[in-house]
Symmetry: C2
Subunit: 387 residues, 2 copies
């Protein structure tokens, strides 16, 4: 610790990536818990479920059938939150009326994809070896590639031929570029505690004409840091600093640092940061993609080992916008966030409610305490790995 | 609707109070739900529970006994997230090192209170007539009064004698002012879905030396609006505009407008705004406090009626900081937020996860559709009112 007293007193930590604060109350971990308990997931799923809309060969909600895929499979979400085409909305002019000031809206279009991580219904990323996670990373990268602005400075690294053709298996990926989108948000909701409605291992990818709030806030701070620090990249500096200190590190390899960030909000929140400046997935070499696959395997396995349960979380990738100014793209620094809700056991979660919603995010266990526990639970998966 | 097309297309709405955006996807309400279901609360509680640490006469975690109170009761939280006294922490100097830039922290002290709304274990605000909610408002007001900065422009309206002496029943309220705090966050977590660990009707009050994130963000936007609009108050303008339009209104009385705000995130989110500029609870007259009590009764009853269940939510009051600049205090506009998670029924909630955490808050049902349903479910409580 920079100062051991932070292990005991309530304090606020600053998140330079968002320009925001989090309240830390280490002494509050002693509080007894009498509230809601989560249902721990019982891992007794079949490898194939004929009722699952993600299993190979099955029919989906709107009638399409899945191919007999053997690694990943990508399709357009049958209930997309944004669509490619819709009726026009012209915001009323800013004519100085109250309504034009206080009732503002803008149209957004986009494309939402679902990506399965494996044909096997009963796997999770924690069950998969890094070599089986690699195709997932390659599919994400390929999807990004097919949506990149042809004028982006990233475009010269976006050669689909950098990736094996098996990286995806769906025609949807080629009929792209009807419209230039601004941002691609890749994420996974894992576990019913995180609103996931199907245990088949899968993630989502929402691509929109607008730059969403969170990446916009981060980009603003990354760009400002670069300007103020003579071209240095905040997350490159941060990975170096944390790797040197070690107290918040969970796992590192040649290309990535992963740990519980100084400013994390969720009890066992983890951030994965490339040690060198990488703007987006397309900047990664084959070796770096392999290192990222190893990283994801390490993190998800440690999460499961921590409370000996299938650990719920939301995971997301932040990277360069699909289209944007040169400054936005060069200031971007690829990174992954893991936001897991569990606090004390497989059944007791942290609720970010009342105070957290109205006033400020609040955490009990410190990032240093969380990292120490996650460092200690590497090794083989606590349960028999499925395959 | 300003434009009926917003009822059908995906779009973003702007929240001028936070300067942020929310993604609205009205067509997505058709999505089937196969995910986690909430446990509906079975309202079979006794009026007195000998194991409840909030019931009159019972012993609390750290040994103190509750008095035999008959309205509200306030005490210092036995597991406070912030404490009045703690060891010092001196942040290291901003000496240009990476650590001083990226690992920033500051100490925060404060006082956390718990307030019971009634001695009866089995009530909720929805069961209580406005006349029984009034003492809760009076206790909140009194607590604010005892913590206000003596130099605040609000201090001349802060006469504890404005309130009946019965407004609270606890000695803790007088031994205050050891330290001048910056902000008082009053809130309620209701229901186990909102992390509430005891059904006895109660709320919390966290008072801190720091101005938390959310009120800070709102204050900045309120102050900027006042500056740019020649002294007009954003929320006074907003209440007027919404009251005229009516389509997002849930309920109104002489003093308050309540409705689903244009920019709301949660499916049935409600904001309560005084029609006239009120900086804090202490600015309310007796009649206005009565109107606020009626408002809280109306909202909580409609919520319960909507899905015929005890409706979970987090509620919070934003108002002027306890101490601050004149501009901060004069720009403040008292208001209440209700953030309820339920989406479609007593058991199906909205999860703000993956995309919402990583990218941008997203909602399905529009605020206009939500308000219409809440307008229609007034009248008596669906279940027999307890008393
Ligand atoms: O203090 P309580 O009611 O035990 O706890 C609840 O409210 C707090 C304030 O919103 C949250 O920090 C906790 O996560 C939640 O479980
Ligand atoms: O699309 P799904 O998996 O059905 O839904 C889940 O993820 C979405 C994106 O994070 C959220 O908006 C939903 O609330 C959640 O239930």
């Amino acid at each position: 610790m920079p100062d051991a007293v932070l292990d005991d007193i309530s304090h606020r930590r600053f998140n330079p990536l968002r320009g925001s604060w989090v309240l830390v109350s280490p002494h509050r971990t002693k509080r007894p818990w009498q509230g809601q308990k989560e249902e721990p997931s019982k891992n007794v799923l079949p490898a194939y479920d004929e009722k699952c809309y993600l299993c190979p060969g099955n029919k989906r909600a709107q009638g399409d059938a899945n191919p007999d895929y053997d690694r990943t499979f990508v399709f357009v979400n049958d209930y997309s939150a944004v669509r490619e085409q819709q009726a026009d909305y012209e915001p009323p002019e800013q004519n100085g009326t109250l309504a034009s000031r206080l009732l503002r809206a803008e149209s957004t279009t986009g494309k939402c994809y679902v990506i399965t991580f494996s044909p096997k219904h009963n796997l999770t990323l924690a069950d998969m070896p890094a070599s089986d996670i690699l195709p997932v990373i390659e599919t994400w990268t390929k999807l990004y590639t097919t949506h990149i602005d042809p004028h982006s400075p990233l475009v010269h690294v976006c050669k689909p031929t950098h990736l094996p053709p098996s990286a995806h298996q769906n025609g949807d990926l080629v009929d792209h570029a009807q419209q230039q989108y601004r941002y691609m948000q890749i994420f996974e909701n894992k576990g019913s505690a995180m609103g996931c409605s199907n245990p088949h291992p899968h993630g989502q990818i929402w691509t929109t004409t607008s730059l969403p709030e969170e990446p916009e806030i981060e980009l603003r701070h990354l760009s400002q840091y670069r300007r103020e620090q003579g071209g240095a990249h905040m997350l490159e500096d941060y990975a170096k600093l944390e790797s040197d200190k070690g107290e918040r590190t969970v796992y590192e390899n040649d290309s990535f640092w992963a740990g519980c960030p100084w400013w994390g909000t969720w009890p066992f929140e983890i951030m994965v940061v490339p040690r060198a400046h990488k703007r987006a997935l397309v900047d990664l070499s084959r070796k770096e993609r392999e290192d990222l696959a190893e990283m994801i395997a390490e993190i998800t396995r440690r999460y499961d080992n921590l409370f000996e349960t299938s650990f719920p979380y939301s995971m997301g990738i932040h990277q360069a916008p699909l289209s944007g100014t040169d400054d936005e793209i060069e200031s971007s620094h690829l990174h992954l966030h893991f936001y897991p809700p569990l606090l004390r056991s497989a059944t007791v979660r942290k609720f970010l409610v009342g105070y957290e919603m109205m006033a400020e995010p609040q955490r009990d266990i410190t990032p240093e305490q969380a990292a120490k526990r996650l460092r200690a639970c590497g090794g083989p998966l606590y349960r028999k790995k499925l395959s």
